[in-house]
Symmetry: C2
Subunit: 114 residues, 2 copies
DNA sequence: TTCGTATTTAACGCACCTGTTACATAACAG
DNA sequence: CTGTTATGTAACAGGTGCGTTAAATACGAA
């Protein structure tokens, strides 16, 4: 049983190197060499990161002579945005409660509960 | 070097069981037993999932007699929403291009490129 | 104290992730 | 064909993730 798309996307995003690759690609396509340069890890390692991103559908690869340019495909992120939006009310509520609490402290009530 | 908060959050969300737990908690706090019931896995396994969620700051635990109720804390999801929003333009662009392509086909142009 | 319920921790197995280095492929250039 | 450049694959090592069962712990009740 292989993981669902959302799990695939989330786990692809769970690595800072891969997120940095996506950010770079958001400025335009790049070769594997160009993507490797900013990092202190070997090209095979980047190649595998790209494979993970490709499996999650987050990048698309073409061919151009001996280069295999990588392009961003952000469509799987729509599902992520969708998923997280269902919780917006919850975190905004939490922030508001925190604000109210801080305001209470400001008014000079050092015994404010919660 | 331990992972940054965003990586921690993403990897916590990369498991369907954990996402289901969060969804259940969005309806209110629950005990570990209540959280285990809907799943076909053992309570120790759920306990570990909760530990992952707790480490990511997505749940908070209290104590009530021999129960340790679990509560949702959605605030780390704000960072996720923030991160993914930066790509909204990209995936919307991709969807629009797809729509345009389909419309082109509709008009009876079977040779439409891209 | 002793028992019962709720939950965590320990110990294990297995699979996967992420990096390395060395080698294999693919495609252009001469 | 041969060499060079760009990239992928193989083989290995160490760490981590996720499940199991069995044993420990925490608290309330009798």
């Amino acid at each position: 049983m292989q993981p669902d798309q959302l799990s695939l996307t989330f786990s692809a995003l769970a690595d800072p190197t891969r997120r940095a690759i996506l950010q770079r690609l958001s400025e335009g396509e790049a070769s594997v060499g160009e993507l490797t340069a900013p990092f202190a890890i070997s090209m095979p390692a980047i190649s595998r990161h790209l494979k993970v991103l490709e499996r999650a559908g987050l990048v698309v690869r073409t061919r151009n002579a001996q280069w295999r340019p990588v392009q961003l495909n952000a469509t799987p992120l729509a599902e992520v945005a969708n998923w997280v939006e269902r919780y917006r009310g919850h975190w905004q509520g939490a922030f508001e409660r925190m604000d109210a609490y801080l305001a209470e402290l400001q008014k000079g009530d050092p015994d404010a509960k919660h």
